[in-house]
Amino acid sequence: MLLPCVLREFFRWSTLSMRCTHTLRLQQLQPSERGLHTQAQQFISRHIGLRWKPQTRGIKNRHNKRTQSQEDEWKSKNKTVLTYIAAAGVGMIGLSYASVPLYRLYCQASGLGGTAVAGHDADQVETMTPVKDRVIKITFNADTHASMQWNFRPQQSEIFVVPGETALAFYRAKNPTDKPVIGISTYNVVPFDAGQYFNKIQCFCFEEQRLNPKEEVDMPVFFYIDPEFDEDPRMARVDTITLSYTFFEAKEGQSLPLPGYSYK
């Protein structure tokens, strides 16, 4: 009589390892502590699959029913908790994806734009005062891409400016070919750290510029050095800033040429 009970107990113990602790505690009860009625009910409901509602008389049965409903309550509580955790996880993933446009909106609203360290205020040009005792030499450099046939050069090799003063400089470009050529340029400022103080009011870069055959034009650059340049300790030893423009050819449907090869 006792042996099948012990075997049953072992079987139950191994299969119910995932159940909640209260149920486990119930299982740990010695067979003698539980009523025969309870064991029989559980045995039948598990192996035969019948939902046999026994007569609910007696203290032990009531205790079992209470624990059964408590078990259900725990199960539902667990489910809710798991749902909340899963929702939080999905929410975190969604937030990480949404952070990109949100950050962009924030930058637009706050005006930082992600790149400004020294404030690039357009109204600053009106109110800034030149720092007359700090003279900086600006040297100019002009480059073209290997396949770009324009003659592009600066019209002055250097110019002396002070921070806070707007300055004008000229480049010249000539198209020696017989076909109109569209060029687009970009620029570079050396030293890199000084580049953040180099503000261009207007120039000829980043937009397509078209030159007719045999045409020569002057290209101005209107710029200023931010007055805060003088207050930056890292810039204390910077006397020369080099502005370098590079022209590339822009054509519709153009495939990038191999570097080092030029073609007509």
């Binding site: 690039h120 040009v125 003063e165 890199f192 009011i201 510029q209 002057d218």
Partner: protein, 92 residues
């Protein structure tokens, strides 16, 4: 162009100009003003402070010939030149 080798120092990011791009002066309408400016620069050993009047004239020419958006001169940093145009050269 900025190379990929700048690991420690800050890489340079080109910024677009504040007021956009100058349209090209295909007809050379302001070439005279430009030549005056360049001559002034060469005479004053490329000191920009001494040639601000000429640069103001050049930009004024551009605005007059619709090669540049019209702006009050203060916004271009020439506020001090507006009041004292002939005496500016004497001061410098």
């Amino acid at each position: 162009m900025s190379t990929a080798m700048n690991f420690s120092s800050k890489a340079f990011t080109p910024r677009p100009p504040d007021k956009g791009s100058f349209p090209l002066d295909h007809f050379g309408e302001c070439k005279g003003f430009k030549d005056t400016f360049m001559k002034c620069l060469r005479d004053n050993s490329f000191d920009n402070s001494k040639c601000r009047l000429q640069s103001k004239d050049y930009l004024q020419c551009r605005m007059d010939n619709q090669l540049m958006a019209k702006e009050p001169l203060e916004k271009l940093g020439f506020g001090d030149l507006k009041e004292t145009s002939p005496s500016q050269e004497d001061k410098e």
